[in-house]
Point group: C2
Chain length 330, copies 2
């Protein structure tokens, strides 16, 4: 049953290097640099990508915000865009109806647009500039293209505000280290019984948690949610009991993470830690150390593998999720 | 089995009027007015309240943003607060550890603080100003206090930026109309089989959807989620099949809402509409017409009643949700 999706997850290291090549050319050919105020938009996984990029922008000294395409189209009153100098619109296919509609709407406002996509497409023709990151995917679920788009745009962000980009070669090595653990991840998932998965992460690991939860839904049709780590204590934790796997994404666990873990275990949940340091969770997966902004890139293939192997264990074909199509159109 | 929680939901109209009385005194005594840039913070339900308030602020011409307390404490690099002139911290009890910690942290930054709570408390002593909205609740789950806090602060927002406040008496009447439908809501929930609930809403109805989902978890321990309406088509919709109730919160359904409804029905889900206009959903609950910013206040008691009666149908006591306590401390 090894098909397109697992092949594409395994291609993440090559996709990262290819992203580096493409973005290098893009920036030097055009002398492109981001303005201070950037709004990132997309749908589904691309919205979670937008959240990561908005955070990276703010962290680097710019001002980033993320709004899903549909809300930008329908609820402009809450998103006046009056300080926005550039809107970055991401769509893997470049054919998502709402992404194209945003490009059209924004043109009428006089705000610059940048499209990010995997190939020439209707979106690339509607934006002022188009960064084409050729992360070709045949599967329905977005996997390595997410990581490739993230690293490409991270490089744009870092060079725009801090003048030094990211090291794609060393990042590729880190991603390869994660993928080397595929067998361990598969075994861990096979040996752990759970019928719902809750992902917790703070800062940039919150959008990663959201994406992990969406992968688990898309591939394994399993109930899952994501929360900013300690927000989960405020009511939501009622859902974590027997049969729940709580996945804590944290590179640097504190004493509160440990107490929280015990609280969840006391409710009957199993806790999995993913990070640099085992803090006594029931299950633990280690990731290689990278710089803080690169951390999402090493988590992404790992959380994709978790969803993939959960799907396989449930007898589902991750290449063919029910009800879903590769491009979402109206 | 009628206990504290249902009593407190039914008290919403009185709480709204009381909120109006208190806020009127507060504003005239102090000549208080919001600055342009306001950050709202809270935990759990209070964070969803913050999202509503941030949107109301932006809509009225200010600049509002919402960040959960825990993220503000741990991930300041993504929330530099450099333009924030006031931080509004909401905690029903005024005793939530993270809310108090935010007040302490912010004091050291030289940013003004406003506390919002139901009574004098540790938080009211740590903020520069305290708006006490006496929405006394004995139950664990936040119900009428959410609506009372929302209407009180909405009045502050409207008077600060637009100089005209809200009409608490007419809003009370609208809320009373909703509560008159309690029997219908109970019957609707009793007659509908569903084992998961997905709430969809756009604009201000997205935070309402989030709160609806949290109520369903807290009271009925039922799997539920919330999404910006059309975001749900992008992957997440894989979860909506037989046994799923999708609740579309929309006052003004469009042709896309109708097509989306049919798409979900085609997957086996039941669709409930809540709004002004029945657009052919399997189930429909009507709300009275109010101004757009007041809309959340009429939805809130309704979504609370849905969660309450689902809990009762499942044989659970909404007054005693497992694992939860009234105040979340560290």
């Amino acid at each position: 049953m090894e098909g397109k999706t697992i092949y594409e997850i395994r291609r993440t290291p090559e996709a990262v290097v290819e992203a580096g090549r493409v973005v290098g050319r893009y920036l030097s050919n055009r002398g492109f640099s981001l303005p201070l105020n950037v709004t990132y938009t997309g749908c589904g996984s691309s919205h979670f990508l937008s959240q990561l990029l908005a955070m990276a922008t703010t962290r680097a000294g710019g001002k980033g915000e993320a709004v899903p395409c549909s809300e930008l189209l329908l609820e402009r009153i809450y998103h006046p865009l009056d300080e926005t100098q550039l809107i970055v619109i991401t769509s893997r296919s470049g054919e998502t109806t709402e992404a194209i509609e945003v490009a059209e709407m924004v043109r009428n406002l006089g705000v610059s647009t940048m499209g990010v996509m995997a190939h020439e497409s209707p979106l690339s023709k509607k934006t002022d500039t188009a960064l084409i990151v050729p992360a070709h995917e045949e599967s329905i679920v977005m996997t390595h293209s997410f990581t490739a788009f993230y690293t490409a745009l991270l490089d744009v962000i870092e060079r725009s505000y801090l003048e030094e980009g990211i090291n794609f070669r060393s990042l590729r090595s880190a991603v390869m280290e994660v993928l080397k653990e595929e067998k361990l991840i598969k075994e861990t998932i096979n040996e752990t019984d759970f019928n719902s998965a809750i992902y917790l992460g703070s800062g940039m690991l919150y959008p990663v948690a959201l994406e992990a939860s969406l992968k688990m839904k898309e591939m394994a049709i399993l109930w899952s949610e994501a929360h900013p780590t300690f927000e989960f204590r405020h009511g939501f934790k009622v859902m974590a009991g027997n049969g729940t796997l709580v996945v804590m994404l944290t590179t640097k666990p504190t004493e509160r993470h440990e107490r929280f873990m015990r609280e969840l275990q006391g409710q009957g949940a199993k806790v999995m830690g993913i990070g640099y340091e085992d803090f006594g969770t029931d299950l633990f997966l280690r990731i290689p150390e990278v710089s803080e902004i690169e951390v999402p890139a090493v988590y992404l293939p790992l959380i994709q593998l978790i969803a993939y192997y959960k799907a396989v264990k449930r007898g589902l074909n991750p290449d063919k999720p029910r009800f879903l199509s590769k491009v979402v159109r109206w």
